[in-house]
């Protein structure tokens, strides 16, 4: 086991600390609540000469991602941080970063999208760019945010895809928690040096980045991107395995909590998973066979693995911290159901899946809310039908 220090840090501090240890060549960013502190703290590291990074305090998030694309295609390890409207303004460039297969790393602090304007947590921002070709890793707490940032560098560079690591706005970003920090030497040795294969500043091998693809090539390049996303699943697992071996904290595509012998379970991402764990402990002591699946990786979506882990259950609830405005259900529920549908085609199983849309704009999710979900599930498991989509905690 490597040496580590135990400190108290907020999520934003944890992410900034990881960035300091990663010591990227370039960080380009624009301040936005609640992600502001990440680059603000990092700018302090730059001002104190603690990093070699060239910090580019751009005039917009669109330019932040554009500068990241310039830096990354020029051959540099490149990072940024944003949230909500900032991520929305970056959206055009996110697709380009992924299409160019640039390993840019982003700290993304989840916050509701306008309108109405709201600065608090939900997952609408990340979900809005879920099809952009970025790997998306969700964190339950400060520790995971820190560990995920370090792993993201390795994942991005091996998979040749950009990676965003998310935390829940204010809940994690501003909540102070116990954090086990690696020594600088361990962090540095884990992320290693970046050696790009082709890059603009290499005048020995000239490249044209961002060429025009017409009918004859575009489709193939998008197909390659899709394949890269598929194969990145193994990269994520490999990096997590190495991280676990070296530092003792293990990660996968998703976490299973008390799923052994579980009859009902909820699927929830981010900080809510932590709340659900407390609820499950209580329910288990009362004899209810409740469990939790916490997707860590939303892109690539761990379809087969997740369906497999849900197969023995009598009923499943999905907790969606955003709405897809699709007259159907939340984005996570759509993904989970699609995974189960394909799995059920081979197993013949048919399962009740309920979707709960909750917590938009920072609306609190309390243990009793989650208990309510489990109660619904118990009923559904007995074959008593419940409505498929429930807006949990909304005044109607």
């Amino acid at each position: 086991m490597a040496n580590s220090n135990i400190v108290a840090r907020t999520g934003n501090e944890a992410m900034a600390e990881a960035m300091r240890q990663i010591n990227p060549d370039v960080v380009a960013a624009y301040p936005i609540t609640p992600a502001t502190e990440v680059v603000q703290i990092f700018a302090g590291y730059v001002a104190d000469g603690l990093v070699d990074t060239e910090f580019v305090p751009v005039e917009s998030e669109h330019s932040a991602m554009s500068a990241c694309i310039g830096s990354s295609s020029a051959g540099g390890r490149t990072m940024t941080g944003t949230s909500s409207q900032g991520l929305a303004l970056m959206a055009e460039m996110l697709y380009i970063a992924a299409g160019l297969r640039l390993p840019i790393i982003m700290a993304d602090v989840n916050r509701a999208l306008s309108s109405p304007i709201n600065i608090h947590c939900d997952h609408s921002d990340t979900m809005m760019v879920r099809d952009s070709g970025w790997i998306q890793i969700f964190s339950e707490n400060c520790q995971e945010a820190y560990d995920n940032m370090l792993q993201a560098v390795r994942i991005a560079e091996k998979a040749r895809l950009p990676v965003m690591v998310t935390t829940d706005g204010f809940i994690i970003s501003h909540g102070m928690e116990r954090l086990e920090i690696l020594s600088d030497a361990d962090a540095k040795s884990f992320v290693g040096a970046y050696k790009p294969e082709n890059y603009l500043l290499n005048f020995e091998k000239l490249i044209t980045v961002g060429a025009l693809d017409l009918q004859d090539y575009y489709f193939e390049h998008r197909r390659q991107l899709a394949e890269a996303m598929k194969t990145s699943k193994q990269v994520i697992l490999d990096v997590a395995k190495e991280f676990g071996t070296k530092f003792g904290r293990t990660y996968g595509l998703f976490e299973q909590y008390k799923m052994d012998g579980a009859e009902i379970a909820i699927v929830a991402m981010g900080s809510t998973a932590g709340t659900a764990k407390v609820v499950i402990d209580g329910l288990r002591s009362k004899g209810l066979k409740a469990g939790l699946i916490k997707p860590r990786v939303f892109r690539p979506f761990p379809k087969e693995e997740l369906a497999d882990s849900l197969k023995g259950l009598k009923a499943v609830a999905v907790m969606d911290r955003s709405d897809a405005m699709n007259a159907q259900e939340g984005p996570l529920a759509v993904e989970v159901k699609a995974a189960l549908f394909d799995a059920s085609a081979s197993s013949g199983a048919n399962k009740t899946v309920l979707d709960y849309i909750y917590g938009l704009g920072g609306r609190e999710i309390k243990p009793e809310d989650i208990e309510h979900v489990y109660n619904d599930l118990s009923e559904a498991a007995k074959g008593k039908a419940k409505q498929k989509v429930t807006y949990l905690g909304v005044r109607e």
Binding site: D25, S63, S66, I69, L201, G210
Partner: protein, 319 residues
Amino acid sequence: MANLKDLSKQKALFTGGHRACAGCGAVIIARQVLMAAGPNTVVANATGCLEVVSTIFPYTAWNVPFVHSAFECAAASISGVEALYKSWVRQGKYNKKVNFIAFGGDGGTYDIGLQSLSGAMERGHNILYVCYNNEAYMNTGVQRSGATPKGADTTTAPVGKVKKGKEQFRKDLTEIMVAHKIPYAAQSVVGNWRDLTSKVEKALAMDGPKFINVFQPCRLGWSYDPEMTCEIGRLSVETCVWPLYEVVNGQYKVTKPKEKKPLVEWIKLQGRFRHLLKPENKQLLDELQTATDKNWEDLLRKESLTSPAAEPKPSQTLR
């Protein structure tokens, strides 16, 4: 300053075989700018004619490292490249001398890209931004831009029964750049290779953000025969519709034509101004001539105000 013979012997850094229209001025600019800059140059390009005609996969006309990301962010993209360069030099990982040049059309520069251009200039990156300014969105089919002159016929400000082309005067982007207090801002034109290449050389020799606005007749959007591009470019200067000048650390220097020609000589060669030659539109033509004259006089006044001789003596100002 190389002569034409020397320049023509250089390896082509922007090659033939691209798919630009016959008579396209944008590719002339790209070739001449790179001739002056030399091979140690990284280019970022905004989406637009220049990019789409020169990088049709799997081909490229660029014999220098080249990056294109989107329409409005060439200045931000090159900022990122230059930032990495600075980081690597500071880390001792890189020691080559490199030029950083961004190309954008007037749409990507005057309009949608103005914010990222302004940001890059304000932050002081060591870059040269070259606007190839053909006064409309030529890549998407000749729509009006902030650079389109009053009275021009475009597809989104067309000449009709009631309206006579674009109703507003163009934005003065070069002056907006001067207002950023950058060390070097200039106007050049297609058809005067010596002016363009020497301005590029001069700009690249200076540290910090530089901007050159290159006037570029577009045979498609302006509607003239392809062989006329350079001639119309030179006439733009002679009629003072596009004066050649540079502003070095705030000091103006204007290249005066031997003889200032009437605007109509420039207008009558272009289909986009065809309606202005009709007698009923004489008032609009006169208005354009008046505006051109005023702009020219304003420019000469700025030159005389910023000349070293015009600077007030310290004793006069301190009293």
